[in-house]
Symmetry: D2
Subunit: 346 residues, 4 copies
């Protein structure tokens, strides 16, 4: 930790900071500049609960040097985390990217869901997505089928062999969702719902954590740290776009540089959701390809057999035939990506 | 709702949209431009669950005309909501602004809390703030005293007559927190934790809802709508800064224009938290004054008897004497604000 | 244009708006909703200088329907603009993507520039970049060699056959720069320097316009429109990252979705600058690949023979051997991209 | 300067950085942490043209400690800059805040301009604003009367005694504008037009520099530094709103905390433009009051005798009577602000 003192800080103020940090168990190095003094406090910042030295008189700024996440960092684990499932699907590392696909929400029409599931499987997906609990900006919108939706997803898994990823919205329903799903998804708006993250640390199933719409990469990895710290090493990260300066042409700004950045700083798998990341159907294919060539471990795409009558997000859902066509192009592309290049990022 | 068609949309595509919207119960008006066609669909958008017309071929964009929140809007209730408490404190409308003050988190030292409570009361506060459940970006930081903290707050209320506002983090603890607090606070990171909002709709106590760090005003008011829709009309909004382009000099960007904007579009009270909004002690007083003269119904300020040893956010906490001094200036200012001017905003 | 009236607008207020717009030559359609009235004013908005109807009493909002740029739009020209040079290089449409490479700034060491030029040409670049006039955030930094730098670039062109792209910073030097360069670059900070855009409209050479750090796509295309409106159809757009919520891990947020978006709304070529877009050397290759697979017409990359001693931006410059290695991978990738797919975007 | 090395940086890499920095004249302090090494390079960073050490192998990050602006900083000049004019008007320090008012653009109707000038003077303004050269997002909009507009402004000054502030858009017209105006304004889009800033450093008249729509405070002060470095100490800063996450309800996000922040880090005067900062007429008064109580040295407000027929920005212009009414309230408020409080910020 670096403590930058004000240009006019007194010696007394400097001494007070030094003494306080020494009392907390830090080693101290003083860097006396021409104008300002910089105090380096060396030691594990995580022991240092009250970062309150920032409040001392004469302190201008406190800067972290070491990243505050630990379990999620490359420093603590150099090997890529690969999340493995009983049926052989693997996510992360140098494994072939996974394709997650399915409707935004599970709807009352079970036949429709099964049709989608069979179709996306045939096109190359290995994981079925679909919301049973739906966070909605407005209380007047469809909130999901809840447990019935989970049953439908389980039925689709039984018929197709696809794994199931679905969202869990609060601590009360973690056990319920975990009893049906293969991967529990945390939505972007819940990325810092810390009680939920804690419960998911103890749920025994892999978790897919979506990046919050205004979350920095540090905050994103700290949210993953909450899950890992509470006992669950199987965290899959998901970039889904951040709020940008322009929501007129796309819903969010997909931050694809976050993929190689996260691969440098963390060993966790990272996938991309171009459907929520853009909100426009015609942008899904180019952004999916871009995600995969810059190193994403997979993509998650909204697909619906009848988008014009979908209960949510129809405008960003591909039809079954659009998805088929896109996957034909993507399967070609995946075959050609030299995944060893990604190794260089470590 | 306005449906903008692509410049090359066919008549068939236009007809399909028109028919679909008529089937949903909307009246249709066609605005045939020189280049593009704009379809106005008139009726209550809230009945229209699947906004999926956006997915139809030939549709460029769907624009809402009426704000999607209803209970929170000026259109549904022209009179300001004034939240009233048994001890006579009132928040909202043309009432004198309220001052909420206290430590970031309730700590083990009960005497310290009582000292703060007595001191802020003497300076003019009527509501004591303090976190018993603390959302923390890192799992390695102090997470709060939980129920013990609530008991301490209740003790401070008993001794001072101050009302108590404190955060609730998940659905599981709504009843617990509601049994101690006068106002239940929703943190910025939980603004779109919809299950929590639903539970708070049913909790029977006033709720203070903080604006999310990247929430638009529409999203903010829709979050309030969730609480109101589930039965609770006593929602107090709290502006606490949004993520800006510059976090070097201040933690967030306090969006003070949101105050008169919200007063135009909604009848709900709106207060400001300059402590989290800036994260710097020297900015609290100027931003508090600015908030009050542009119409805020109150401010919430972090105050600690010993910020250098606070368990969190020491750098943005005022000392007791700093708070005294600021309140002397603010009480002068409040006496002079002509609150009738605010009436004009409606 | 859509004029949304306030819920309580009077008939008189509505009539006043209608009359004013009719006087301006618009056809009027009234959409009478249950709560609000929406007035559609049909006609060419570009004729309508004073957009002042927004100031009328009772008006809530004025929304554009048609994009305000015209010459830059797909509606006015469906065929892709392809910028062609005498030596056969073409930028845009379905042409093979171009590679622009070279140092951030032209430095005093001419030999170094020539070494870079020969090297990037051998690796596949066809255009040499290098700044002779350097916009610098601080006045204490290197401001460029000015005309001497232009002479060096011309020398490098003579020896290698590469085209030259270089920045022009103000109206005074447009003629000078145009006498040396093949493409005149407008920096991100000058994207809305309208006098400069006007002068470039008359300069007779192709212009590469960089997107401003906070420019929406609409503003970006309107800046291109300024150049085109003043007589120059050869505008090449360049995405170089926008200010995001996180400048800790990358300098800017590269907005790659802007590529397919711009290809839908405009016929102009669009290239990507991953060097300024990320500011980190290890991110250049993955972001270059991502740019090309999602449809960019080229990339511009900073390359230096000795980045550790570069006069600017060393941290984001590739060495000659890094560039060689990256180009080997990219040439493979380019060969495989099915550019016909991009046709579908129109 | 602080150079943070990668966790796995070798001793050789560290030595290379140390040696390079010593060669540049810096004193070196090594802070050897448990995981990472931090090298403090002490000395004047402004001497250090190539910040290229960031490109060295093993370097994770380079952090500035001292602010990069010098002439604009409190460290180099503790006393507030007060810009004084021959007629006795003063801007900055503890002087009474100034009011700048007038139309967005100077229009062909000279009588209208004179009416506005007389009226705003009577209400308390001392400076007349009005654009003769108008930067416009679209080339199809009114671009200003140019020199004729300057003549009209001079005429208004002659008749009223008001000072004149007006925008200069490029280096070519600096002398022309300086021959008419008392204060030369740099628009937000030109904040980093460095050739223009340089020319204004030599123009001999005070300059009002508007903050760019995405400029950090550091970039803002560095832009002021360009003007001062080139010889002009009379720079007035102007906060006019930054691009935020929500442009639906207001045009920009007015960042009022920037006022006390800038007063802490710089001695330059800072005023606020609530008209462009919000773009909505009803927000001007509350934001003007908020600006003044948090320490702004003045405000600049758009006022028009006939906003419904203004050539630009009618929706955010106050009528003459609205301005009168607002000024009555503001004059009361100004009388009551205890400006000695602001002294504390230094």
């Amino acid at each position: 930790m670096i403590i930058v003192m004000e240009p006019r800080a007194t010696q007394e103020q400097i001494d007070k900071v030094v003494k306080a940090m020494e009392n907390k168990g830090f080693r101290i190095n003083i860097n006396q500049g021409d104008v300002m003094t910089v105090i380096a406090a060396i030691g594990d910042r995580r022991m240092f609960q009250p970062a309150s030295v920032a409040s001392f008189d004469g302190v201008r700024e406190v800067k972290l040097i070491q990243e505050p996440f630990k379990l999620a960092s490359r420093e603590s684990q150099n090997e890529d985390t690969v999340v493995e499932f009983e049926n052989g699907v693997k996510i992360g590392g140098l494994e072939k990217p996974v394709i997650m696909a399915g409707p935004c929400s599970v709807e009352e029409n079970l036949e429709g869901l099964l049709e989608i599931a069979h179709s996306v499987k045939a096109a190359g997906a290995t994981i079925l997505r679909g919301g049973a609990f739906k966070p909605r900006t407005s209380p007047y919108e469809f909130q999901g089928l809840e447990e019935l939706g989970l049953k439908y997803l389980a039925q689709a898994r039984k018929e197709t062999g696809l794994l199931v990823v679905t969202e869990v919205m609060d601590t009360n329903t973690v056990d319920l969702v975990a009893s049906y799903a293969d991967i529990l998804q945390v939505g972007a708006r819940n990325m810092q719902n810390f009680k939920l993250l804690k419960a998911l640390g103890e749920c025994g199933k892999p978790v897919m954590l979506k990046r919050g719409a205004a979350a920095t990469i540090r905050e994103f990895l700290l949210a993953a740290e909450h899950i890992m710290y509470n006992g669950n090493p199987n965290v899959i990260l998901c970039e889904r776009g951040i709020k940008g300066i322009d929501s007129h042409y796309s819903r969010n700004t997909l931050d694809l540089a976050s993929i190689p950045i996260i691969k440098k700083y963390s060993h966790l798998p990272i996938i991309v959701d171009p459907s929520h990341g853009t909100g426009r159907r015609y942008l899904i294919e180019p952004m999916s390809k871009a995600s995969l060539v810059c190193g994403a471990h997979g993509i998650m795409v909204e697909v619906h057999n009848d988008p014009d009558n979908a209960m949510c997000d129809g405008a960003q859902s591909l039809t079954l035939s659009m998805f088929d066509e896109m996957m034909a192009n993507i399967n070609q592309l995946i075959g050609r990506i030299d995944y060893d290049n990604n190794k260089a990022l470590k």
